[in-house]
Amino acid sequence: MNDRRSAARSALRASQVLVLLAILFSFLFPVPLGAETQVIYEGDSIYNHIQIRQDAQERCMLFGRYSDKRQTCLDMAKPDLSVLEYTGMMFVGFLFHPETKDVALIGLGGGYVPTVFNLHLPDVRLDTVEIDPLVYTLAQKYFSLRTTAKHTVTINDGRQYLKKTDRRYDQIWVDAFNTDYIPIHMTTREFLQLAKTKLTRYGIVLQNVHNSNKLFDAQVTTYRTVFSHVYIFNGQYSGNSIIVGADNPLFVPPKFQLSAKRRPRIGLIDLAAEAGKYVPEPNIMPVAVLTDDFNPANLLLHQDH
């Protein structure tokens, strides 16, 4: 009896030691995510927890610890390929305004948009505004982001930048949200009104949003109070949508075949195909207009569309 008990105790002790060793080992050797996915960087800034993962050719910058919803991916062999659907979709802005000279982008991510501009739109001014200096550093280090006189990156809050700038833009692209950090002062009516004052005559504001929650409905509703024309493009393979707000669009979706003739592609992005994602009658629920005074964005974020 005693022998069996002491044998059991030894077995238990041995298994405890093994578990402890396994835990310690896992800190030394990070568990691989899949057959080929590797985490090549992981770190924290004041604003974000950032991971950079590589899976064969594809390198992604992920924000947030618990969900992979927000990320930016580049194909390192073909950096202007739109790996994620929404990054290519944003270029529908060029169908609204083919002769765009100046674009402001809020939210850098891995730098896919500046990369496309570098390769295919060298004469179009792109001012990118990013709040997190770590994102900029990582984009330079891991995604070969380069700045030029025409393609700049400023570290600043997007709304602050727009408030202080004297420039006027043909397009303002807002891609500032991630799962952890919704800068709610950039979801409001007052923000859109401010952005509108920084547009040129035929300028548009364009925003990337997730369409799976009520915040999407609230944002569309808010756009509709600021712009006389609001257009929605739904992703076909992703839960992303693009909202476009314009008072004087040069071209509207029914006329996109005309603007697509002028500029059918931007690098590997097929603008005609992206135009096909236009939704003439989107299903939008009447939710609150978001203002600086009243903004339940964080609550709406967790309610399904």
């Binding site: 004041i46 604003y47 709040i131 600043n156 809050d157 709304r159 602050q160 408030k163 202080k164 800068p183 709610i184 002062h185 950039m186 409001t188 007052e190 923000f191 203002t291 600086d292 005074d293 009243f294 903004n295 339940p296 964080n298 609550l299």
Partner: protein
Amino acid sequence: MAIVYVTLMGLLVLFGAAVMSLEILSSNLMSPYFGGSIYIWGSIISSFMIHFSVGYVAGGYLCKKTERVYPLLFLLIFASAWVMFIPKIHPLAGEFVSARIADVRYGSLVAMNIIFFLPVTIMAMVSPYIIGILSLHRKTSGLSAGLVLFISTLGSFLGTNATAFYLINLFPVSTIVQGMGAGCLIFSGFALLLGIDKRLCYR
């Protein structure tokens, strides 16, 4: 006598809640003018720290000087009325300062102090003041300084969570601020009418 203690506890909880609620809401008030960066939070938190520090020493000093509760209550009525006007003050202060100070760190610090210095400093006087008043009645008071701070900080906890988790999703910021100011005004007025100084036996 019980009503005196309940009222004093009420003041501790209410103004403990009010200062924290204002701190949570101040980021909503500041971000349209100064952005949503870490600098803003630095300004908010450090400003409130200044207000608390000055309030603590002012509260202790005024209590020692007057040995009466009513001066504090008059100040709290003034502070509560100020809070009710914050929704009107803050856009003016925000625009004025952000147009003149380019650096958002110093700009937000200045704006925070213009808007919040007076009311928050006064509200921070409550704990040390009440500790001082109670210590004048060592025989009749069962409350220690630790208990006073516990009650006030409990109020702060409630104010923080109620604001951040619930109120901000249910009501406009301006409504929350004005409602809170009104509530503080009414309670301070009630405490004044109660005549606490007469009810407490002063040596």
